[in-house]
């Protein structure tokens, strides 16, 4: 399908040069390539610069609360598992305030794709420390440098049961589009952590900084079915930063194990015989 089908009239409101443009573009290319009808796609987000993405993509969308995109998306998927559900958001949204939901979603393994625009800072609130900010980073909220170590989303995803774990980079657009497509195609919970530079508030982890360090896993003899290798690679950061798929697994999805969903999605199940059902259930109480 045409990429234009996934565009809207509104112009994206990000700062010129923001990494999130590339993520939007990658999603549009992936959806077109997978020939998904906009009416069958739901994109869910929280709050942040990155969480504004659904507004710029032509599909159903739910732009909810800061940190709560994951449970909203889970509810949508459980109600209608025929839909293609994608979550888009920031590192603060997903790895800070929403971290608990993120971990539980991975162990749940619904067939959802989670695209995180990781800029290692809080963009929308004008540049405070994020849970991904590097130790020592100077931000508005940490004028003497961040004292905590950063979360490692890839390692967390690996140990939490995500069945597709990948890292992309906004500075490598084609690679990112392919990763996004693979993630959407994957049956199960996919995490794509995307290094998506904030050109306004993060002067440390810039495009240039990443370009000097990134390499592609698929070109470096990495076995995506090997958890030990994946865990080892997930800890690389300072000098070499891996991009691509770390790990893939084919565990059954949550929805495939849910008895109530075995015939059809919840939303298509009729609700016109409830009186008979109640009359039957009431026997249990006499």
């Amino acid at each position: 399908m045409e990429i234009a089908l996934y565009k809207v009239e509104a112009k994206a409101t990000w700062c010129p040069g923001c990494g999130d443009f590339a993520v939007l573009r990658a999603l549009q290319i992936a959806l077109a390539s997978l020939e998904l009808n906009p009416k069958d796609v739901v994109i869910v987000s929280g709050i942040g610069c990155s969480s504004n993405l659904p507004g710029f993509l032509n599909s159903y969308g739910f732009h909810g609360l800061h940190g709560r995109a994951v449970p909203v998306a889970s509810g949508i998927k459980l109600a209608n598992h025929d839909l293609n559900v994608i979550i888009a958001g920031g590192d603060g949204d997903g790895y800070g305030i929403g971290l608990g939901h993120f971990i539980h979603a991975m162990r749940r393994n619904l067939d959802i794709t989670y695209v995180v625009m990781n800029n290692q800072v809080y963009g929308l609130t004008t540049g405070q420390a994020a849970p991904t900010s590097e130790k020592g980073m100077l931000t508005k909220s940490t004028p003497q440098g961040v004292l905590e170590g950063p979360v490692n989303p890839i390692a967390l995803a690996l140990v939490s049961g995500a069945t597709f774990v990948a890292r992309g980079f906004s500075g490598d657009a084609d690679h990112l589009a392919k990763l996004t497509e693979d993630g959407i195609k994957h049956k199960g919970f996919s995490l794509i952590d995307i290094m998506s530079p904030c050109v306004t508030y993060n002067r440390q982890n810039t495009y240039q900084w990443f370009r000097e360090r990134v390499y592609r896993l698929e070109e470096d003899n990495h076995d995506v079915l090997n958890m030990d290798q994946a865990l080892k690679r997930s800890r690389e950061w300072e000098d070499r930063i891996p991009l691509g798929i770390f790990y893939k697994d084919t565990k059954p999805t949550y929805e495939s194990g849910e008895q109530v969903l075995k015939d059809m999605p919840l939303v298509h199940q009729p609700i016109d015989r409830t009186v008979e059902l109640v009359k039957e259930l009431i026997q249990d109480f006499t």
């Binding site: 909810g64 449970p71 909203v72 608990g100 969903l261």
Partner: protein
């Protein structure tokens, strides 16, 4: 011939882990299958083993509306509990206990009470060491004392254990029969209930009725995080899920619970959550999200003793203002409080219809006493319809474009026809940010004051349409009374009982019970109250939250208040005492 009595009150007291709840349920069903109305209340603590637990079943030929006060028969499962409860037994009543375990101190049990010492060890020896069997022995004996046919008890036990737990059933049948036969050696007491084995009413808790209401309403998604006293909604819905087709999800916390339910509702299914005050606090932000995105969802909050963790297993009605004030900003929402078990059922059906017709969150406030007490029902109202509100027509041929469909179209009623993902021609994005009628965000770049104002008014207009759909409040009892009692939620039964007891003594009282808290029938309530000679609110909280709401909405000052916040429900006697005091 003993005189037929109209009611009996039986209390079982022991420790947590003694199986008291199950014993109480069995006895309640036995009474119900003997044509009696029942009402049972379980008083327990937040420990799994130990603590003080007592369960009181009151059964009568006519509708009983509270668990009553004076105990006719006490089943004491240990000496400590015998000491605590012996004096609550009325003159002419009886106490049953396991004589191997319980040795009453001389003088503890008054002379006007009959002692039934049961040789439990002898009776249960053949059936293994399960200590819970002592309850069944006592039940057998009690059924005999009350002159109920043994087949009723054996029938309830058979249905409870079913064919799956054969060994347990056999043991229970044998020891209950032995208890029953042993009781033949007791001297007969002058106690016989007016029984009718042909009438059988269902017996259920408020929570079970709320859950059954969800089934009736066509709810398809229920999410929860365990929290007393709402957990038994989760348990029952999970246990029946494959029969009802309701997807039940225990989520990681209450924030996830409500956000999931909102997601499911946005995707087109009827969805509900249940919690208590602490979990409700965590849900607050998402309640506003439902209001702002106009997503219908039903939220049950069953109140317990606060503040904070408070009294996890005790009753209170102190979360009214929490419900009214939940989440930032002004937005349309409905808060209602059922008062009886059958009202719990109907209220959920009503809540779903209101939620979907007006695309708003509906908060259903219960409390521990209402949620957990068991009551026999004369029948539940199955004459209802499922009203899903207005949907936009799917436009199959069209090219989907986000800017084409006016999800939040300006209408006179404020309700805009909705749609959900998967439908052709209605692609849109719901947003927690302020948006225009085509769902485009107006919070960034250009706030558009005029659009903001119109959108706000559109949402809030729904509140004006909701009020006339809610049954107006009405006075129960005579119009001209010396005193009007006012309550909400679970105090309904006790107030009714106090009113009728005092009525028999010649006092003229009436009763106003408020169900709809938001929107509020300000005009009607004001008119009613201004016609009253004297007013008294009865509430389980410290600050008189209903009185405050009434004053806020109507300007009317309620004269007297009876407030209780010790964790236990009101007794009709407490209300009677207060009424006598203010009526002097």
């Amino acid at each position: 011939m003993p005189l037929p009595k109209s009611e009996v009150v039986v209390r079982t007291a022991g420790a947590a882990g003694d199986g008291i709840a199950a014993t109480g349920e069995t006895f309640a069903k036995v009474c119900s299958r003997s044509g009696l109305h029942v009402f049972a209340y379980n008083s327990y603590q937040s420990v799994i083993r130990g603590g003080f637990v007592w369960l009181q079943v009151r059964a009568g030929r006519t509708k009983v509306q509270s668990h009553g006060a004076g105990t006719d028969f006490l089943i004491a499962l240990n000496s400590r509990e015998l000491e605590r409860h012996a004096n609550d037994v009325v003159k002419g009543g009886g106490i049953l206990y396991n004589k191997d375990k319980v040795k009453p101190k001389p003088g503890l049990i008054r002379d006007d009470i009959t002692q039934y010492a049961l040789p439990v060890l002898d009776i249960t020896a053949k059936h293994g060491k399960n200590p819970i069997l002592q309850n069944t022995v006592a039940l057998g004996a009690l059924v005999k004392i009350l002159k109920i046919d043994f087949s009723v008890l054996s029938g309830v036990l058979s249905d409870t254990f079913g064919s799956r737990k054969k060994a347990a059933l056999e043991a229970n049948l044998a020891v209950s029969q032995a208890g029953y036969e042993y009781a033949e050696t007791f001297e007969t007491v002058d106690f016989a209930l007016d029984l009718d084995y042909n009438t059988r009413r269902p017996v259920m808790t408020g929570n079970q009725a709320l859950a059954l209401g969800a089934v009736a309403a066509g709810c398809k998604f229920y999410a929860a995080y365990p929290m007393t006293p709402a957990s038994s909604i989760l348990h029952w819905l999970a246990a029946t899920s494959t029969r009802t087709g309701i997807l039940v999800k225990q989520a990681e916390d209450e924030i996830a619970v409500l956000n999931m339910a909102i997601g499911a509702a946005f995707a087109g299914v009827r969805s509900m959550v249940g919690t208590s005050g602490g979990g409700f606090s965590l849900m607050s932000e998402a309640i506003g999200l439902a209001g702002q995105t106009e997503t219908p969802v039903v939220i049950i909050s069953s109140q317990r003793g606060g503040p904070s963790t408070g009294l996890p297993t005790k009753t209170e009605q102190a979360d009214l203002f929490q419900a009214l004030g939940a989440s930032q900003g002004d937005y349309p929402k409905i808060v209602l409080a059922p008062s009886t078990v059958d009202d719990c059922f109907s209220s959920i059906v009503e809540a779903f219809n209101l939620a979907e017709k007006f695309q708003v969150p509906v908060i259903v406030l219960s409390d521990l006493y209402l949620s957990e007490h068991m009551e026999s029902l004369d029948g539940i109202d199955l004459d209802f319809s499922i009203e899903r509100g207005e949907f936009a027509k799917p436009d199959v041929g069209s090219i989907d474009s986000k800017n084409g469909f006016k999800r939040y179209a300006f209408t006179e009623s404020g309700v805009s026809p909705r749609s959900f993902p998967g439908r052709a021609g209605t692609v849109f994005q719901a947003s927690s940010d302020e948006h225009d009628d085509a769902a485009n965000i107006i919070s960034d770049v250009f706030t558009d004051e005029e659009m903001r104002t119109r959108m706000f008014q559109k949402r809030m207009r729904k509140m004006e349409r909701i009020l006339p759909e809610l049954a107006p409040p009405r006075l129960e009892g005579k119009n001209a009374a010396d005193l009007t009692l006012i309550g909400w939620g679970s105090t309904y039964g006790m107030i009714r009982e106090a009113v009728s007891t005092l009525g028999e003594e010649g006092m003229t009282l009436n009763h106003l019970h408020i169900k709809y808290m938001l929107p509020f029938h300000a005009k009607q309530v004001k008119e009613i109250l201004e016609s009253c000679r004297n007013t008294l609110t009865v509430e389980s909280n410290y600050t008189g939250q209903l009185s405050r709401l009434i004053r806020m909405e109507t300007g009317f000052d309620i004269k007297h208040q009876l407030l209780k916040y010790d964790g236990e429900p009101f007794y009709p006697g407490q209300i009677i005492t207060k009424v006598r005091e203010v009526n002097n």
